[in-house]
Symmetry: C2
DNA sequence: AACTATTTGTCCGTATGTATA
DNA sequence: CTATACATACGGACAAATAGT
């Protein structure tokens, strides 16, 4: 009769966090304390804590302690990346779905961006476009900065997440296809529409941007038709 | 010199799954095999596998073995619900962001649904609306069925995930506010627009639906203004 | 139905690396 | 620099669940 418990250790630890009202960043009882609190061995506690760490519920700092995590949707990254890569057709299908979601979000948001974004932010966006041929990460920063004014933290995290996964899987599509020129043109068109405060033009510019991205995926999908 | 490894055990196990081309459902090496494959002790292997299980990447069946999972995003529901609850203001802000994303996705997709959905599916949607006052889960099934014809698995998972999180946190907003009548009306309006193949009307009906949801959140945000 | 082999679940004890005081 | 507290890692042992003989 070791330790009959209906709920899993993970759930009991989460319940413990809620009961004590621990806010993100607060320290969690140490492993030995959890051992006697939950009546489990060190190994069981460690396995449960590792699972919670994977879920972003806790953060572990070696030699210091375990703390409540304020982590975000970043925990979706390994799961989504795995799903995309192991999907049918080498994940082309999943990649198409992912880009489609990005397009839905960005074309839906760009209208309110056209009205709310400040001129200083527009200048910063312009600077990012100018450095886009040199700095590969400028593209990610561009899309992040674009929707910062919306005040929706979740959207920012989702768009960043999708960008990361796409650029993690994208190399498997085939040869690099250096088309930075077109990419820069597409982004410049978006900024121009925003400067003109033309919501519909901005949305159309965003559609053109994603048209190119989807075309790249379609080429990889059927490379034998050439 | 125990086991020098740059990558974490989790990542190495995932890499191993990809190398062997293991499809969801196929068995992965046993713990003992993983021990010698990765050069780690059983406890370390177990901790890594538990973390992968939390992410939905593997499924463990006691006494049988460990298998590749489907990495469906809904395993992350408790984690994300926890994060939303821990957010500032009791999570009202995060909940508003979440509903906003749902609205972006659904209003963006409903147009192509109006064109592609079959009449039999419309009948099924109608049936769900009719049972919505009795079955609380009919709402979730409605939104899932709605976008099934789009052929985008990621969107389905995201909408289901967000629905689950919202309805897990929503009770903390305040009293239940039994307004099933209005909810049914809103959904019936959507189906009617779809039957007429009127994309713009469907989009407007969807906006009205979310207008009510957002109003509920706004009421909870400032209950003292009454 | 009973036994056995395989596999995961839990536990104990111990040693090591790391950050803080 | 030393000491303490903590997380990390290892190895061995037994219990519980499952599948097949």
């Amino acid at each position: 009769m070791p330790t009959r418990d209906g709920a899993s250790l993970q759930e009991r630890i989460v319940a413990l966090i809620h009961e004590r009202g621990l806010a993100p960043g607060s320290p969690i009882p140490t492993e030995v304390q959890l051992m006697e609190l939950l009546g489990a061995s060190r190994n069981s506690v460690r396995e449960a804590v590792r699972a919670l760490r994977a879920l972003g519920i806790v953060e572990i700092r070696h030699g210091h302690g375990t703390f409540v995590g304020h982590a975000s949707l970043d925990v979706l990254t390994p799961s989504l990346a795995f799903q995309v890569r192991s999907g049918p057709g080498g994940g082309i299908r999943a990649l198409r779905d992912l880009v489609e979601v990005r397009e839905l979000l960005e074309t839906g948001l760009i209208a309110q961006v056209a009205q709310s974004t400040s001129v200083t932010r527009l200048a910063a966006l312009e600077a990012l476009v100018n450095g886009m041929d040199r700095d590969h990460g400028a593209d990610r920063a561009f899309h992040a900065l674009l929707y910062e004014s919306c005040g929706n933290e979740l959207v920012l995290q989702l768009i960043g997440l999708f960008w990361d996964i796409y650029h993690e899987v994208e190399p498997t599509l085939g040869p690099p296809e250096e088309r930075t020129a077109e990419i820069v043109v597409n982004h410049r068109r978006i900024v121009a529409a925003l400067r003109a405060r033309d919501a519909e033009a901005a949305r159309e510019a965003m559609r053109l941007h994603f048209r190119d991205v989807k075309a790249r995926i379609a080429r990889a999908k059927a490379p034998d038709t050439a």
